[in-house]
Symmetry: D2
Subunit: 337 residues, 4 copies
């Protein structure tokens, strides 16, 4: 950390601050400037809240030097992590596509969708059984019945499945059905849930919260990693801003920023990232052009009748066209799909 | 809902949309404008996602008419709700003050704090036992031991206690100790947790998420209310914006907006709302001047040594001065404290 | 500044960075930490973009130590500045109220409004003659005719007037009519305009941009101050956030933050800060409770027929009631109105 | 517009609102729902502020039906506009690249840059002579001398030039030198300036404000178009959000959204959109993959010594590599560069 003293801080104040910081086990090193003195603090600052030093006499503010995450950082793990899922490698040369309905609604809907996405080239089937919904009056998912239908689709079409888990109490159950556990955006800082999935050995797709910084996403990954599960994939799915012409603002910058800061694979979700099916294909192309390791896409055979997220779901034929377009982008940057 | 058709929508498209909407049980009523036709949709739109109609041919967009919340709304419950807590009325003439440490750290720290806040005029003791922390390396709270210390302070000082619950599995346990269950900002849309506290009959303080709208806060309250628990208090605690001079941006507008939209009491948290102890007192005065029914304030006997949120904690003597200043504001608007 | 080197930065890189920074006239001072080396940079960093040092080999990032503003800062001007306007002191014990219509529309409308606001206790008459409007199809103000009507009202009612100037070419003209020049939110970073008003000796009310940080507001003030005009008042008028239940989010935290960082007076605009007349009075109370030195309020005799900002304008009788309520708040914190 | 009446609005109130709205020249059409009555308002709502009707008795809120822009809209101009600049077509099959230094600093710096960007394939030379800077202490540009150097580079290298104009008084001067007038982000709602460039017949590149919506960008374009200048290009350059890992958040969604709403060409600025040179190339690829008609890129021969925006400037060799990568993306989506 660096502690910045106030303009007129006295030498007694500077001395007091240095002694206090040293009493916590740090070393200190003052630098006397023209207008202000700063104190360099040497040692592992990660368990500390820097703001607390702002309370010491004569302190103006305190700034972090170290990034607060460690296991997720490239500093200590420079090479890319590859997450293996039933023979599929995420994070390498190949761009991976996960696709399927927002919610599992019926066997017919699910089977029609899985047949279509498999044929179009998807590598993983997505589908929601437990649905976190803003309204208590909206469809909440089929629950266990949904998991069973996903398992049936998985076995028939030989596609691994990803589905969301919303409560620590459900982790064991969902892990028996799913190949990948999804942590949804609204649960990105549900630390009890992160702890629980961190104790499984299932791959996890961790979605960025609507309100979360890239650094907070990496700290949430750090929770999972520090509980022993190394198979974590991150997902950019749009953040909340003042703009309302789209449902969310897809943070395309986060893709190269994450690839620079962390070794974990980065997946893009242009369905939630835009909220409108017309924009899903251009943003899918853009995400892969920016370096995303994969896509997760909502597909529904009849979006206008979907029980959730219909407005951002692609019909199967649009999805197949999207895969073709994205494949050309992947090839243009030297990857394959 | 109102469905706005595109500029050149054909009469066949208009007819198709009306038939589709009617097939879902709504009535329709078209209004033919100069540039666009709109279709009024009559019926309870709350279980529907309006965006799904944007997929129908010729539709430009769909706008809600009804608010998505009902039990939390003044439409169906015009008079203020008063929440009773061990003889204290929240939501009436009196402004209520809840105060105490961010985290329970030791018996000494808690007992010194409770003695001070009681003497200064606080009505409720706050204190965290289960702490949701951004970093897995930070202090996570004393857990059950913290609950026991809170109970000890409660019994000795005759102050009801409020403490946070972070997981559905903990609700039963925490409810045995606490007089008020707190749902933290990061869990405002943890629907499994909302469901669980909705099934208790304990008063709940529901904190607004950092990037949640006022409407989403009311929808979260609707979850609790619709599961049978009517004793809900809302808490404005600052939202995330582009501004970084303070930790959060306290949304003072939300206070009169909530008082206008809902019958539930509104509590203000200037500690999290600013993140800096120097600004807590002026924002506490402002919140009460704007109509807040109460305050929740972090107090610590030695903030510079606090294990969490030290920078925004008041020392006991500053807290006592704050209560005096707020009391004068309460009197100036015809309330008491 | 503090330059943070990368985890594995070599000693050659550290040496190169120090030499480069010294070649620009700074002194340097390295601090060797456990995971990273930091380099303290000594000298006036204000004319420099710190990010440019991020380009040097081995650098992770660069952090400012000094605030970028100087004339506006309390560091070099600790005591409050009082701005004198025709015998009225802004920034002292008294809370000042500026009030009047958003736009000057007709002589009748203006004269009816000025009579009412004067009687209710306002100290300054506001009124727009040149109106910056989002739509080219909306009413753009009466221009010179509006200035003449304001002058007539000023002379008849002996109230100083404040009106907006939108272009550097108009500054001389507007300064002949107005007692206070207003810089609107959309022009806060119109540097040509700031330069022009900085060369007059008229008091200036500088409104914070919707998208501007507190620091940027102070930098805009610095433009005016550094061109020789010391009579600057700042105005918090709401910022843009994700929340849509109000037109803007009034940043109440900015009031104590500004009072702490700068010696300049701070005025609050709850009309734009909320966008809804029902919320103007509670937010006016809150702003004064938080420490604002004055208010600027939109008043219109018939808001439903106003040519601009009707929805946020108070009727004269509501305004008079607001002044009474705010006066009680001012007294509760030891000020007068 | 649609006026939504309150839950318990009386039939007198509904009648009064209809009469008032009709007195302004609109037709009305009520729709009686189960919980609320809505009133469809027929006529051109663009010159009206819908919020003003919220003041009428019994009204809950008013919603726009028509988009507030007309000349910029595809409704009345369905086919793409192609802007011609000295034989270059912007908005057609070809992706256009504009490149050069943030600021013109010296003849050597400019000539070295223009030679490099011309050879790498750029179509237009960018360079700032009048610089809007956040700090009054920062380099403000060479002014007229900068324009003369740009003209010299233009004549020698046969590249059209784009440069920013910051004040209405400078428009005539800058238009004598520049082939394209740039309106910067901070001036997007400087209506006096928009008016002035609208009266020239020079092509205009209109940059989106940091916190302006897509709709406000189109309204700013409407100002220029409605004053007679049809040669307008829009520029997405990143918006301000809560995220700080990049300088701005490049709103990739805005590209397909703009292409859908307007016929005007859309240019992307990944230099400002990210603020870090390492991210410029991936975001340039992404922008073209999403459908941008061109790019504007900051290039400097020695970024670490640049007087402005060094951290986001590419060196000439990185720029040449970027053009190659973007060309492959353009080809993958059926365009050329």
């Amino acid at each position: 950390m660096v502690i910045v003293m106030k303009h007129h801080a006295s030498s007694e104040e500077i001395k007091y601050v240095m002694q206090h910081v040293e009493s916590l086990g740090f070393k200190t090193h003052p630098v006397y400037g023209e207008e202000r003195t700063i104190i360099g603090v040497i040692g592992d600052e990660r368990p500390v809240e820097p703001e607390v030093f702002d309370l010491l006499p004569g302190v103006e503010r305190t700034m972090r030097v170290l990034k607060p995450f460690k296991l997720a950082s490239r500093d200590f793990h420079p090479e890319d992590s590859i997450v293996q899922i039933n023979g599929i490698s995420v994070g390498g040369d190949q761009v991976i596509v996960m696709a399927g309905p927002c919610s599992v609604e019926t066997r017919e809907q699910l089977m029609e969708t899985v047949a279509a996405v498999k044929q179009a080239g998807a590598h993983v089937l997505r589908g929601g059984a437990f649905k976190p919904r803003t309204s208590p009056y909206a469809f909440q998912g089929l629950g266990l019945k949904g998991l069973e239908l996903l398992r049936e689709a998985r076995d028939e079409y030989h596609l691994p499945i990803i589905t969301e888990v919303v409560s620590p109490t459900d982790v064991t159950l969902v892990a028996q059905y799913a190949d990948i556990l999804q942590i949804g955006a609204r649960n990105m800082q549900n630390f009890a849930l992160l702890h629980a999935v961190g104790e499984t050995q299932k791959p996890v797709l961790l979605k960025r919260g609507l309100m979360s910084t890239v650094e907070e996403l990496l700290m949430a990954a750090e929770y999972i990693l520090s509980h022993g599960n190394q198979r974590v994939m991150l997902c950019e799915r749009g953040i909340r801003t003042f703009e309302t012409v789209t449902r969310n603002t897809f943070d395309i910058n986060a893709i190269p920023a994450l690839k620079s800061l962390t070794h974990l694979p980065v997946i893009a979700d242009p369905s939630h990232g835009t909220g409108k099916w017309e924009y899903v294909t251009p943003i899918a192309r853009a995400a892969v052009a920016a370096g995303a390791d994969g896509l997760i896409i909502e597909v529904h055979p009849d979006p206008a009748s979907a029980l959730s997220d219909g407005a951002q779901s692609l019909k199967p034929e649009k999805f197949a066209a999207m895969v073709d377009e994205v494949r050309r982008i992947a090839q243009a940057i030297g990857r394959k799909l």
